[in-house]
Amino acid sequence: MAATNSHSDPLLEVKGLHAAVADTEILKGIDLTVNRGEVHAIMGPNGSGKSTLANVLAGRPEYHITEGTALFQGQDLLAMLPEIRAREGMFLAFQYPIELPGVRTWQFLKAAVDNIREHRGLPELSIREFDGLLEEKRQMVEIDPDLVKRSVNEGFSGGEKKRNEILQMALMDPSLAILDETDSGLDIDALRIVSNGVNRFRESTKSVILVTHYQRILNYITPDYVHVLLDGRIVKSGGSELALKLEENGYDWVRGLAVQDGRTESSKEAPTV
């Protein structure tokens, strides 16, 4: 394993994060540090708060932060609008990508790239340059070229929607990609394609937070750290072997551990492997 917390170059530092939707508290004190080049898997049973964490980081308006801090590249993440987070280099691949009737995929992707490049002080890509970039990334995720002419996600299969998320990630070139159950509902071929996309992306200094219910995708994307989320808290953190142990013993095992410890183990104390 390359990066460790002792030679840290923190990209994201979350401390004591509490978040609620309406009056229900869902995140009850999350501590998580992601350094450049690291892949963190966040696992947990349904309702543990995995998707909430992913959406809170991306700035979904319906969640209220009640306590805690989050720094992204040293800046106050929680003060940023969702679009600013995206332009600063955070990307969320949606668990359920939204259909946008009438909005052409090409137009949507171009608008996304234009906004991001402008924010980063890069010149606007000409249509030709953009088409070149789009073609390269499209081939990587093996998306039918006709899909970019269609309305965003409308009439796409489940696999096509998820591959479209990875296409957007590749085009937007974020420093941190959060994948919210991108593996759910994918067949083996789509899983391989999506995983290839993520592995291609993580080369260099990119970081990934992989939110997943199942260990399956971790056969394709090897995480540096695995965190287990239970009832809004990270109850156990470890290396990639933790995922296998979970697969073997189920989430009840962690539930048992959490009760036994009488406290939660935060990621700051994650063992360096």
Partner: protein, 447 residues
């Protein structure tokens, strides 16, 4: 003098003056038709009473009824240049273009090719004499004057308009573009445009009807269109409403479809102070189908009303309807869509939907889709939405780096373009794209 007569004195006195004018070429049978229609109008008046009048529940025409709109005394289209028309209406030099100024045909502004493969294109003023048998068979047969004051009034003033007959088996290469332009006047004036289209068996044609205003004047357009789609014929129909912002418009269209015929229509509405478009489709032949689409984009204090009746009379008939509205400002739109499936119209298949995007808290939509089914073994569906864009949609777009303005613009554009994309002729689609999509209201969907 009855109350109706005194209230509508301007119409009655103008009718008298025109009759006294006594044009030599005026065919007697049309004179009779006009007189009968005027008598009917005198009885009916205009539908100002709305209590219990379902057809006019949401649209108040008092402003039309209380204004003395005059038949233009001087009608001099020479002041209008072709460039003025091209500014406000779809146009292509390759098309057959018929231009009417304040209801009267203008030869100078029109471009009718010498050779049209047997397709008969004429102004109604000539056709009532030259094409009498065909006209007597169809004119005023579908647009009934019996229970509709506006249609009775139009027919009472029937003097000019467009007449088109596409012979059996003929396909028109390019669209037939009919433009009714109103210039208005210092005093409020009225025009009564009239269109009669007979699409012969197995013919194919594309028809564009535009109602446009050049100057910002208060005037009233009261149009009636009759389209007969004979066995196996296909008609692709487009209608544009882009009247002056101070104008009133009541348009009536009656479509009569025979066996296995196909009628497609897209009705675009952009401007008028107050407008009603009343479209009736009679699926009179087995296997006939219609596809009706519409896009209305309202702003300011505009009021746009679409009333559509689709009548499944014979078995195996199909109808599809999708209308969309983008409402801004204090504008109001009304959509009344009714599908009738008559006894004996088994295996009918109907679906209608009206979707609206409200961009302002002061905008209002009254949408009322209805189904009346008197036959067994039919497939019918309907729906209406008067929604806003949801929060998840906007968050998705913002998470891709787009600000609220960009996200909102793409969403409104996408909403409207679903209808515009259905326009078949490429040049015409480009025209509607520029007319609607380049002037979308600026909006932010905030939550």
């Amino acid at each position: 003098m009855t109350q109706t007569e005194s209230k509508y004195h301007a119409y009655l006195s103008d009718f008298e003056s025109l009759a006294a004018d006594g044009r030599a070429h005026d065919a007697g049978w049309v004179r009779d038709l006009r007189e009968r229609s005027l008598a009917r109008f005198s009885d009916l008046g205009l539908p100002t009473v709305r209590r219990g009048n379902e057809k006019w529940k949401y649209t108040n025409i008092a402003r039309i009824a209380n204004t003395a709109f005059r038949y233009p005394s001087k009608n001099d289209p020479t002041g209008i240049r072709l460039a003025d028309i091209k500014d406000v209406a779809p146009w292509h030099d390759r098309w057959v273009n018929l231009v009417f100024v304040n209801g009267q045909y203008s030869q100078a502004l029109s471009s009718r090719p010498a050779e049209t493969n047997g397709v008969r294109i004429a102004s109604l003023a000539e056709a009532v004499v030259s094409d009498r048998p065909e006209l007597e068979r169809h004119l005023a047969r579908y647009a009934s004057t019996e229970d509709d004051g506006f249609t009775a009034l139009n027919t009472a003033f029937l003097r000019d308009g467009a007449y088109v007959h596409i012979p059996e088996g003929e396909s028109m290469d390019s669209p037939l573009n009919i433009i009714f332009v109103s210039t208005g006047d210092e005093e409020p004036v009225v025009s009564h445009p009239r269109v009669l289209v007979v699409a012969g068996p197995r013919s194919k044609s594309t028809l564009i009807e535009s109602y446009v205003g050049i100057e910002r004047n208060r005037y009233f357009t009261n149009s009636v269109t009759e389209i007969i789609v004979e066995d196996g014929a296909e008609v692709d129909h487009y209608r544009l409403l882009a009247e002056s912002d101070d104008a009133f418009h009541v348009g009536t269209a009656r479509v009569h479809q025979s066996d296995n015929s196909k009628f497609s229509s897209i009705a675009f509405a952009k401007s008028a102070a107050l407008a009603r478009y009343d479209l009736y489709i009679g699926l009179n032949g087995p296997g006939s189908t219609c596809e009706l689409n519409g896009l209305y984009m309202t702003t300011g204090a505009q009021h746009i009303d679409n009333l559509i009746n689709i009548d499944h009379i014979k078995p195996h008939t199909t109808s599809r309807l999708l209308y969309k509205g983008v409402l801004d400002g204090k504008s109001r739109a009304v959509f009344g869509g009714t599908v009738w499936v008559r006894e004996g119209a088994a295996k009918s298949d109907a679906h209608q939907s009206d979707k609206n995007l409200l961009l302002s808290p002061d905008a209002e939509i009254d949408t009322k889709p209805a189904l009346y089914i008197y036959a067994d073994d039919v497939k019918c569906g309907h729906g209406a939405t008067a929604g806003n864009i949801d929060e998840d949609t906007v968050f998705y777009m913002r998470s891709r780096g787009m600000d609220l303005e960009t996200a909102s613009r793409l969403l409104i554009y996408g909403f409207a373009s679903e209808i515009i994309e259905k326009v078949q002729p490429v040049d015409l689609r480009a025209y509607f794209e520029s007319l609607f999509l380049e002037s979308l209201p600026v909006h932010r969907f905030e939550f």
